[in-house]
């Protein structure tokens, strides 16, 4: 792998950039692999990377039915944070944040991780109570999170409307300074390039059409649009399509897939220095390095694989944006798109074994998977390599839905009464 650096960039500039090679190969699939990853998004590619790097398993194929990073990796609003309430979630997401902090250097690919701070607005007494609970829990878990007064919140994010007369006045905010954003495409490409360099085969335009199981029920390989590939270990990391893939192995999942919308504005000069989230009014906003305001909208209410939702979802979100940031009313929506998120009953992911020997799954990230990408890949690689979970993903089993040990962050932020 040709190393990326300022020096190589300059030297290529003099040579008309003719010396750059492919960032990852386009290999033909081999007849068999030690591990097959189904899904070439950020999580799948990260899994392959850490399998090769941390566990020395390089005989790995990543199968992607379209082009890598083309699913939720390239469609999300790139918010990264780890200020979760429950110990299990905080450990998982902070594991990811720690990896994010050195990721560009680790991958030799600038993923533009920017710790701009993620601020969550409290609009009523219930929010205040809930965010304080988060702040304290995070502190004791070693995760940074601090409470801001409305004035401090405005100082941190000048466009914020902290008028007491607002329909939902800002009563304070929880700020995680280590939170921020990253460049989503670069994450997929960076992992792909680094994994490829260690021998991982990244196979695009290769759809998995079946999972073959032997007489003992264990995985024997995958049927694909490019032929059968033998393997004893399959990791399904297919985001919105998990149920579809798992059904091919005869496993029914506690998942539903919903369209999740996002939008960006036209680009403008820097005006928004951080990430702001308001759960109460469903608004999530930051500004990209390109200058676009990146805004997360909600999910549609019905299962859909169409990657297209209704207009009312976007209008609802923009009402909230204009209410909290009245100066943005004249900004314009440039692009509105949808992804497909698979959601578990407790809105926490499932990372681990399935009832089928050799079949592992990493799914159910709902609307928040991007932030976990490095951590998710790392612990899933561990799980695939060792056949048992890393301590961080041990609680995120499929079995928790049977036993009742749910990890329900959303329920913990229950609506006020």
């Amino acid at each position: 792998m040709r190393r990326f650096s300022f020096r190589t960039l300059i030297s290529e500039a003099f040579k008309g950039h003719k010396g750059w090679e492919r960032q990852w190969r386009a290999p033909e699939p081999k007849a068999s692999y030690e591990v097959v990853i189904v899904g070439g998004g950020g999580h799948g590619l990260a899994t392959a990377y850490y399998l090769a790097k941390e566990f020395g398993i390089r005989d790995v194929a990543v199968l992607e039915k379209g082009w890598i990073g083309g699913g939720n990796t390239g469609r999300n609003t790139t918010i990264i944070r780890s200020n979760y309430l429950y110990d299990e979630s905080a450990a998982l997401y902070d594991h990811a944040v720690k990896l994010w902090e050195g990721l560009s250097q680790d991958l030799n690919y600038n993923v533009m991780f920017s710790q701009r701070g993620v601020m969550m607005l409290a609009h009523n007494l219930h929010d205040v109570r809930s965010f304080r609970q988060h702040v304290y829990a995070n502190r004791l878990n070693g995760v940074d999170n601090e409470w801001l007064t409305p004035e401090q919140a405005k100082e941190f994010c000048p466009p914020l409307n902290i008028s007491r007369d607002a329909r939902y006045p800002v009563m304070g905010a929880a700020l995680q300074r280590r939170g921020g954003t990253a460049r989503h495409d670069a994450v997929a490409w960076g992992y792909a390039r680094a994994a490829d360099a260690m021998g991982v085969d990244i196979i695009q335009n290769c759809e998995v059409t079946g999972i073959r199981r032997g007489a003992d029920g264990a995985v024997e390989g995958v049927e694909t649009s490019r032929g059968f590939i033998a393997t004893k270990r399959v990791g399904v990391v297919a985001a919105g399509h998990t149920s579809v893939i798992m059904e091919r192995a005869g496993v029914r999942m506690p998942l539903e897939s919903f369209p999740l919308q996002a939008l960006v504005s036209e680009p403008v000069k820097p005006v928004f220095p951080c990430v702001v989230m308001s759960n109460a009014v469903h608004a999530y906003i930051s500004q990209s390095d390109k200058g676009e305001l990146v805004i997360g909208a909600g999910t549609d209410q019905y299962v859909s694989y169409s990657q297209q939702g209704g207009l009312h979802i976007a209008t609802h979100t923009l009402e909230a944006i204009c209410e909290i940031f009245p100066q943005f009313s004249r900004m314009r929506m440039l692009r509105n798109w949808g992804g497909i998120v698979d959601v578990t009953p407790d809105r926490s992911p499932i990372i681990g074994k399935t009832p089928v020997p050799g079949l592992y799954v990493n799914c159910g990230w709902g609307t928040g998977g991007f932030k976990a990408t490095p951590g998710s890949g790392h612990v899933f690689a561990h799980t695939l390599a060792k056949g048992e979970p890393h301590p961080v993903n041990a609680p995120f089993t499929l079995d928790r839905f049977r036993t009742g040990r749910l990890i329900d962050e959303a329920a913990a932020a229950a609506v006020a009464h």
Partner: protein, 995 residues
């Protein structure tokens, strides 16, 4: 001289109405009917902006909404400034203040031009390869610089004073685009009387007919035909014509979003007129007559100001009577440029035309143009241009049959019109999820298989011949209206064929070639080559890696060239590389328009209870609880919240207080199976509850966790009055209806929400009975006849009431339920009657304190969706007799019966004056290393006036086994020592409540 490039005659501008605008430091004149673009060109201004990355001088490329370069800041007064307005779409209004963007210190002299010199470094994706060392420099140095350089205009800085509106509309046929195809479609569709909406993004309907000065339709001039068509349409009551209206989104089930611009073109808009209106049209059928965009040619330095699309030259000349230059060179790979050239020539401009195609392929236009005296170079390619802030020459060279480029020649000029062929505007079709089909003959994607009830017509589906366009529109309109008919039109021929070529042949070193594909994002053919070389082969990858097609024009002018380039590099057919997905909106739409009226007070309803006005008149502080506004506390002059709440609490404990509990949800459960339904939905039993008695009910979700609670009264054998939490009212009713309708439709029960029917006035305190007894008729008030947890029907103050003897304070208490319209008179009568006992109105905060003193939980505060009845110490309430109720089975799951669950306890701080923070975490050992083991957290915490100290409720792991233990709760500063106690602080025996 004013408007030196205005042609003496012609055009659709109103020469009788002069106007002037500000552009940067200059005042420029124009006429009504001008766009900013035509006005700028009339004044010889080509340089109107700087490109995104390299800050190259840029001019006006097009005449429409696809414009990538001419993006201006427009200032319409205080709070009304916004960036990135397309000069080609903004109508000139007298006094408008506009400015160019993305330069410093000025448009002419831009320091950012240094980037252009560094362009060999700033290639596609360069930032992924560098800026990684040292690590901290990314956020401190590199990223801020990149950000400062990025973006185009500046975001508005003050709140927008404008209004925006929404409108839902329905029609039989929606026609998008009022060019010839759209007009013909609308005419045909509206003949039968069905509702037709015709939307067009321009100020004037007509599309290409607005600049067709020579074509004839059915023997009429194009203008006469257009005028007659519009007149006919306007005379039909079933037709709504919407000019200045862009259909920008095509959603499911023929739901199409339009943006109507109502005031930006008015110098003095009427005060109530919204600036923009969002139409959400549900159309039975949609006709897409969205036309086509002309494709630029990709050659070295094709981005200089003065180089524009050939058809746009024609539009400026014919429609706006503006000469974009005096000496124009047209460069083309197809036929349509000949008409543009001929029209420019006819306007008295000097015209040369360069056609890539060999002489024999150039069609009839060639001879016509030569006959007009224009030089035409066939078989020539363009290899470059000259001029810095405005094009001064076009460098061309003959192209041999073997593909070799011959000797260069420079054609002096002040304007270039380039014609690279046509790209049908299939955006809305694609948004409708229709499948595109590549049509090699016209080198374009056209609508293939429809998925929704729509049809594309005319140029939008690659039909360019005017007579065909009209016939196509007519047939589609008639068909859409359900009355198929065909009609032929006679029209002047429209030569439009072209050779699609994504990069003009050149002899230049490809590594040094600066041939722009995406003008706004400064993506060159070289960048696309680099991306492909690095393995980005899917068009979506190329797009994301190079940012081509990602600018504010969303690739309207660049996508096909980018696609063609990738295909030619990979030597694959275009469809194998893919087409990019078109997403809404077609053109950018203001947030304000999308938000509509939902601003301020209309953002979300503020629900107010019947006594809200009284509370406001009496100085209440309010809090928001779900959508409701509730009185929080009633401060007296000089009191802070704590003092007011302490006073209110004392009043209730010692005398009597009055509280508006009207927001509590109420549901009337009626029918012979009412008790059975209650049995199935609540954890406790209802069969034995006698009419006239109340019971506290706890409801679970099917997963076994507490969903809601409330007092339930049995009014009769077959009638219950159920109360819910304020926020839970709608949810609980839905939950009950769901089970009733879908699981147990055999039960004879009906549910009716009565939340807003009844105002609930809580009168609480030792004196409560004495206060209300005189006002009550028909109800025996003595403790024996009317015990705690009973309900009686009667009258209070002459108003029919449901009187509950219930208490959420631990004191003797009543809740007077009266029809909401009588709430105030009853409230005031109670206050009057209570004067002698010092009756004190109290708010939600006091209510919270009083209930916490008694250990009464609040669902949503003590519980969070993961709490079971046993966790709350209410395991005893759960019926052991009932075989089943919603949630019962889940309570038996392994991890629900396992130890270690969090349980409700009370906490007392060692320092009695300290009030813990709600949300504080509790640990056994404050000195343990991070991550610490947290036992649980404080759910409620208050100053208790009755106890003279702070009290708290908490959920702690195995909390009931920790009674008496010393633990530590987090504070802002560190930890506070607390003692675990039973969660009851006042009157543990419950004597007061039964008084």
């Amino acid at each position: 001289m004013s408007q030196p490039f205005r042609l003496a005659t012609g055009g659709r501008i109103d020469r009788g109405r002069r106007l002037s605008i500000r552009f940067n430091d200059a005042t420029l004149e124009g006429f009504a009917g001008d766009t900013l673009a035509s006005l700028l060109l009339a004044n010889g201004r080509h340089l109107v902006g700087r490109s995104f990355k390299y800050h190259r001088p840029r001019g006006i490329l097009s005449h429409g909404s696809e414009e990538p370069n001419a993006l201006l800041s427009v200032d319409r007064g205080p709070g009304r400034r916004d960036p990135n307005n397309r000069a080609t779409m903004v109508e000139a209004v007298d006094g408008l203040v506009t400015g160019s963007q993305n330069h410093w210190p000025s448009l002419e002299l831009d320091a950012g031009e240094v980037n252009d010199l560094l362009s060999p470094v700033f290639v596609a994706g360069f930032y992924y390869k560098t800026f990684m060392w040292p690590r901290s420099f990314w956020e401190k140095l590199y990223e801020p610089r990149i950000r400062a350089a990025a973006g185009l205009g500046k975001a508005p800085e003050t709140a927008d004073p404008e209004r925006y509106a929404h409108l839902h509309a329905h029609c039989e046929v929606l026609v998008v685009g009022a060019g010839p195809a759209g007009l013909a479609a609308a005419l045909a569709a509206s003949e039968g009387g069905g509702r037709v909406i015709l939307a067009d993004e321009q100020a004037e309907p007509g599309g290409s007919l607005l600049h067709e000065t020579s074509a004839l339709i059915d023997g009429m001039t194009a203008e006469a035909w257009r005028a007659r068509a519009l007149e006919t349409l306007a005379s039909r009551e079933n037709v709504e014509i919407l000019p200045r209206t862009t259909a920008f989104g095509y959603y499911n089930h023929n739901h199409v979003a339009l943006l109507e611009r109502l005031t930006d073109h008015l110098a003095e808009p009427p005060p109530h007129l919204p600036r923009e209106r969002l139409w959400q049209v549900r159309a039975r059928q949609v006709v897409l007559a969205t036309g086509a965009h002309e494709r630029p040619l990709v050659f070295a330095d094709n981005d200089r100001p003065g180089i524009m699309l050939a058809e746009s030259v024609r539009v400026f000349v014919n429609r706006y009577a503006v000469a974009p230059g005096r000496r124009i060179v047209f460069a083309t790979t197809g036929a349509s440029a000949y008409r543009a050239a001929a029209d420019a020539k006819a306007a008295g401009l000097e015209v040369t035309l360069v056609d890539l195609r060999p002489e024999e392929d150039c069609g009839a236009g060639l001879q016509t143009l030569r006959a007009l005296g224009c030089e035409v170079l066939t078989g020539h390619t363009v290899v470059g241009s000259q001029g810095r802030k405005r094009v001064s020459g076009l460098i061309v060279a003959p192209l041999g049959a073997d593909g070799r480029v011959g000797a260069r020649r420079t054609l002096p000029c002040d304007c270039v019109g380039m014609a690279g062929g046509w790209t049908p505007a299939v955006h809305l079709f694609s948004q409708s999820r229709g499948k595109l089909r590549f049509e090699p003959a016209i080198d374009a994607f056209v609508p293939g298989t429809s998925v929704q009830a729509e049809r594309s017509v005319g140029a939008a589906r690659g039909v360019y011949e005017l007579s065909d366009v009209l016939a196509d529109g007519h047939a589609a309109g008639a068909d859409a209206a359900g009355r198929p008919s065909e009609r032929a039109f006679a029209a002047s021929p429209t030569p439009a064929g072209f050779t699609g070529i994504p990069l003009l042949p050149t002899d230049a070193d490809p590594a040094k070639l600066r041939a722009f594909v995406d003008f706004q994002n400064d993506v060159t053919a070289k960048d696309i080559g680099l991306a492909v070389r690095e393995g980005f082969e899917s068009i979506e990858h190329v797009k994301r890696y190079t940012t081509t097609g990602m600018a504010t024009d969303q690739g309207k002018s660049s996508n096909m060239n980018a696609l063609g380039l990738v295909a030619s590099i990979l030597e694959k057919p275009v469809p194998a590389v893919g087409t990019t997905t078109f997403r809404p909106p077609y053109t950018p739409v203001s947030f304000g328009a999308l938000a509509g009226q939902s601003r301020g007070a209309l953002f979300d309803p503020v629900r107010t209870a019947p006594l809200d006005a009284w509370a406001e008149e009496h100085g209440a502080a309010f809090e928001n609880v779900s959508l409701w506004r509730r009185a929080w506390y009633f401060p007296k002059p000089g009191e802070d919240m704590r003092a007011a709440v302490a006073r209110e609490c004392r009043a209730v404990r010692e005398g009597v207080g009055i509280f508006d509990a009207s927001t509590l949800g109420k549901i009337e459960v009626v029918g012979p199976d009412a008790a059975e339904l209650m049995n199935r939905l609540y954890v406790n039993g209802w069969s034995k509850l006698a009419p006239g008695r109340c019971r506290y009910g706890l409801m679970l979700k099917e997963d076994g966790f507490v969903m809601d609670d409330g007092v339930v009264a049995r009014l009769a054998d077959d009638r219950f009055h159920v109360t819910t939490t304020t926020g839970g009212a709608a949810r609980v009713l839905s939950h009950m209806e769901d089970y009733l309708q879908t699981e147990w439709p055999d039960l004879d029960v009906f549910l009716t929400s009565t939340t807003e029917q009844w105002a609930a006035i809580a009168v609480q305190g030792p004196k409560a009975r004495e206060v209300i007894a005189p006002l009550v008729e028909g109800i025996a008030m003595d403790a024996e006849s009317f015990p705690h947890m009973a309900v009686r029907l009667g009258r209070v103050c002459g108003v029919p009431c449901r009187l509950f003897r219930v208490s959420f304070t631990g004191e003797l208490g009543y809740e007077i339920n009266v029809p909401a319209g009588h709430a105030r008179e009853v409230w005031e009568a109670v206050l009057e009657e209570g004067q002698r006992f010092g009756i004190t109105p109290y708010g939600t905060e006091t209510m919270h304190v009083l209930r916490a003193e008694k250990g009464f939980v609040i669902v949503g505060q003590e519980t969070d969706g993961t709490v079971t009845p046993d966790d709350l110490g209410m395991g005893g309430m759960v019926s052991k007799i009932k075989p089943d109720f919603v949630g019962k089975r889940s309570l038996a799951r392994p991890d629900i019966v396992a130890g270690g669950r969090r349980q409700l306890v009370g906490l007392l701080t060692e320092d009695a004056a300290l009030i813990l923070e709600e949300g504080a975490q509790v640990v056994a050992d404050p000195d343990q290393p991070v991550p610490m083991r947290m036992l649980g957290y404080v759910t409620s915490s208050y100053w208790s006036e009755a106890c003279g100290r702070g009290i708290a409720l908490a959920m702690l792991a195995d909390g009931r086994s920790l009674m008496g233990q010393r633990l530590h709760a987090t504070t802002q500063e560190g930890f506070a020592t607390v003692q675990v106690v039973e969660p009851v602080f006042v009157d543990a025996q419950g004597e007061r409540i039964r008084a």
